[in-house]
């Protein structure tokens, strides 16, 4: 063999680099554009207090989105996140002593037990999803759709149209309290993002998540237990949703049916708008953070300018569509470039 392996750095042309990074650059530019636009359009937008508002508003979405990022990186989807959150939030309230005026046949327990039972619930729900997807072979899209309905059913059965208010004090503090003026909720969300990032980037499990998403067949032929990885990400997603659900109940100040309705779309939007590929293997928590900011700035900014609240819904939809188009387009560019070998 005459071929040599010189240690020259792998330089790429600017075009190649841009194409590779398109899915990372586009969301960032979107964010800069939105911030610039709202600062210009509204005098009250650019302030420290409002930044804290934005952070607090996206915190619950952020916790859900951490788990969802894992799932989407493996090229699966979890449509049950908001419903798992809702059910878990209701379970924790169900096991807490409620005010006499609350007419629920609940089972009050010590705060610690309620929390443990709630966490056990969401992990068990994730386990059922995992079994359905990996053992029985139901596509995650369908399985989690069924799970969405099941969780909504559990929520409905437990509260029966009533509203519960009390949650264990630890949950209440983390969901609505603050320390040195910073809401605990923001800190928990930041920690969840940080842990998610560390796991995905620096651990063996994280590598498997990316590889399974990048090429499932190749992962399997490399001796990776693909089903185990997929089961794990589905359970991580359920756990994150459950955590968000408990804190959400404290944040809203009540536990009732259908109170997480918008969070499914928000969490998916945050992950995808951030540039994580729906085809798996590309993206990460960094992208999700950008996506969360895009969504947070958009929702918050639209409140600061005088705009028809119905139009607001439409605008959100259009931005989501634009992000999806960029996502697919970036993926196609990448695939066409490497398929030509």
């Amino acid at each position: 063999m005459t071929s040599t392996s010189e240690a020259r750095p792998a330089r790429q042309s600017v075009g190649d680099w841009f194409r590779n990074q398109l899915s990372n650059i586009a969301p960032f530019l979107t964010l800069l554009f939105l911030v610039a636009f709202f600062s210009f359009a509204s005098s009250s937008f650019m302030s420290f207090g409002n930044l804290q508002n934005i952070l607090q508003q996206v915190s619950i979405t952020a916790i859900i989105a951490v788990g969802l990022t894992f799932v989407i990186l493996t090229a699966e989807i979890d449509l049950s996140v908001a419903s798992v959150a809702n059910a878990t939030g209701i379970v924790v309230a169900f096991f807490t002593l409620q005010d006499a005026s609350v007419n629920i046949a609940n089972i009050p327990l010590a705060g610690g037990f309620a929390i443990i039972l709630a966490i056990a619930t969401c992990v068990a729900l994730g386990g059922i999803t995992a079994i359905g997807v990996t053992r029985i072979g139901i596509p995650s899209f369908i399985m989690t759709l069924a799970m969405l309905q099941i969780c909504d059913g559990i929520s409905a059965m437990l509260v029966r149209g009533q509203i519960a208010y009390a949650v264990p004090s630890l949950v209440g503090e983390l969901g609505s309290g603050s320390i040195f003026g910073i809401p605990w909720l923001i800190i928990v969300a930041a920690l969840a993002l940080l842990i998610g990032h560390v796991v995905l980037t620096y651990t063996r499990f994280g590598r498997y998540v990316y590889m399974v998403g990048g090429n499932r067949e190749a992962a399997e032929y490399s001796g990776v237990n693909v089903k185990l990885i997929i089961a794990a990400v589905l359970m991580i997603s359920a756990f994150c949703s459950g955590l968000a659900g408990m804190l959400g109940v404290a944040y809203f100040g009540s536990a009732q049916q259908n109170e997480f309705g918008t969070y499914l779309l928000d969490a998916i939007a945050a992950v995808v708008v951030g540039g994580t590929s729906l085809f798996g293997g590309r993206g990460g928590i960094g992208n999700t953070i950008i996506g969360l900011f895009v969504l947070g700035v958009l929702n918050n900014g639209l409140d600061h300018i005088n705009i028809d609240s119905f139009l607001k819904i439409l605008i959100r939809g259009l931005i989501l569509l634009a992000a999806l188009i960029i996502n697919i387009y970036a993926e196609r560019l990448r695939v066409s470039r490497s398929a030509s070998h």
Binding site: P9, Q12, R207, M211, N215, G223, N225, H341
Partner: protein
């Protein structure tokens, strides 16, 4: 030959990818009505030049004349409009679609009402495939069919598309000898109708059998272009391709091969009565440590499925598997890998991560041994560097994306990923597909070396040369069963083919 009109003239073509110079001032001339072979080592720049012609790489230096007029294609569609069609080295069929849809990808016939004309499409696809000797239902999903058939489907798409310049980048790598013969018949008839064909292959016999003209590349430069005359033989080509004395390289297994008598080593893998409906029936085999078992058979004889079953990727209906004498249930690939079985599948797409750097490709199968919880990227890079060095993988470094390597170099990475720690049993399916003669020789050396270190090795191949050059014992499969076994005797390619 000189009389024939020049269809395509490329002069002083250069192309680099960032720091890598893939082509340096290359000339290439293609005439009307010729089959022009292009040969060269892995990474010599063959595919790159073809992609320039086919409009995949729009940016390059130099001049390209088509029928005397300067052209510059900006996309594959652009080139197609000028009558240039290409079959890429990497299969680019759409596995989710049917056979017929793949044959007519992008050019589906339309009825007068504007709907897809399924009847015409299925009929046309069937006829085209019959010309290549393939008789199958065009409504089947392509992804469910063996890779050889997928390759034929892709070939028929380009061959019968009406293109007058047809580029075939390693078209025969997954085909069995009869299929190759039929392909050659089609190529000759296309040539006789005045079309021009560029044929890239590492099978030099094939090149000598089909080509009228040959161009040899080395390291991004053209070495020579000459008509194929009787004076030109394999040694002549190899010498110009590699530039040193590899002349006797391929002759080693052209004649009779005497298989080694079995050594008294312990049995590492034992299979009894393995069966899988629709794939293979009642297959029993044993592999000893320090022995190479070759399994030969035509494409579709069940050998791919058998290989997968041995790695836990496919569940058998019946049968027993023993490792080191103890029964083992390989319910998934993770278990098989843990039990010490390594498997290199026949398709690069299904064993490598094209969007990931080389070092992540070489470490994925051994990650469990490298790290418990935290990744150790430096250790991964070090291992990748060792493999790059010892297998002469041509790449700028460990960070290069796998998809940017040439086909043969990707194949080397696929083998390398199992070599960091010695497996108990190594299963190789078409281990030398797409490799140049020098690299094949390297693989032969590596595999023999592993055998001498006590690894039990099974080689599945549809190329008689691969099996003959490596195996100590040979099993021939035909239609899902073992038809014959050769051990401790003298055997030739003809006897092997006769048994298959």
């Amino acid at each position: 030959m000189d009389e024939a009109a020049i269809r395509l003239k490329m002069s002083h073509i250069s192309k680099s990818f960032g720091g890598v110079e893939a082509l340096r001032g290359v000339d290439f001339t293609l005439r009307r009505g010729e089959i022009h072979a292009l040969v060269g080592e892995n990474g010599a720049g063959k595919s790159t030049l073809m992609k320039i012609i086919a409009g995949v790489h729009a940016g390059f230096e130099g001049e390209m004349l088509l029928d005397g007029a300067p052209v510059h294609f900006h996309s594959a569609r652009d080139a197609l409009k000028h009558g240039i069609g290409m079959v890429h080295q990497e299969l680019s069929v759409v596995p989710q679609l049917t056979v017929a849809e793949n044959v007519y990808l992008g050019v589906q016939p339309i009825t007068r009402l504007g709907a897809v004309d399924w009847a015409a499409m299925n009929k046309g696809a069937r006829e085209q495939l019959q010309k290549l000797g393939l008789d199958l239902d065009p409504r089947m999903i392509l992804g469910d069919l063996p890779i050889g058939i997928q390759q034929l489907v892709e070939l028929s798409r380009v061959l019968f598309s009406g293109a007058s310049i047809i580029i075939l980048d390693e078209p025969t790598s997954a085909l069995s000898p009869p299929e190759i013969e039929r392909l050659f018949r089609s190529l000759r008839s296309l040539r006789d109708q005045g079309n021009s064909i560029i044929f890239i292959s590492h099978f030099l016999e094939d090149v000598l059998a089909i080509a009228d003209e040959i161009t040899i590349f080395r390291n991004g430069r053209k070495v020579v272009a000459a008509p194929v005359t009787p004076e030109i033989d394999k040694a002549w080509i190899i010498q110009r391709m590699i530039g040193k004395g590899h002349e006797e390289l391929e002759s080693s297994y052209l004649g009779d091969i005497t298989l080694a008598s079995p050594k008294g080593a312990r049995t590492v893998l034992e299979a009894e009565g393995l069966s899988k409906a629709g794939a293979f029936r009642d297959v029993s085999l044993t592999v000893k440590g320090g022995e190479i078992l070759g399994i030969y058979g035509f494409m579709g004889c069940g050998q791919i499925e058998l290989a997968r079953a041995l790695f836990g990727k496919l569940k058998c209906d019946a049968g027993l598997l023993k490792l080191d004498g103890a029964p083992h249930k390989l319910s998934n690939t993770a278990r098989a890998a843990k039990a010490g079985i390594a498997y290199v599948p026949e398709s690069r797409r299904s064993m490598l991560f094209h969007h990931e750097p080389i070092y992540k490709n070489t470490s994925i199968a051994i990650l469990e041994r490298l790290s418990r919880l935290w990744l150790k990227p430096d250790a991964e890079r070090k291992i990748a560097r060792q493999h790059i060095e010892s297998l002469s993988i041509k790449t700028p470094g460990t960070e290069a994306l796998l998809g940017n390597l040439s086909g043969g170099n990707q194949q080397k990475v696929g083998v390398a990923k199992w070599l960091t720690y010695l497996p108990k049993v190594l299963i190789l399916s078409e281990p030398t597909r797409g490799m140049d003669v020098g690299a094949k020789e390297d693989v032969v050396k590596i595999v023999r070396n592993l055998r001498d270190q006590g690894v039990g090795i099974i080689i599945f191949s549809t190329e008689p040369e691969t099996v003959l050059s490596l195996a100590d014992r040979i099993m021939v499969m035909r239609k899902g069963t073992v038809s014959q076994e050769f051990a401790d005797e003298t055997i030739s390619k003809d006897r092997l083919l006769a048994a298959a």
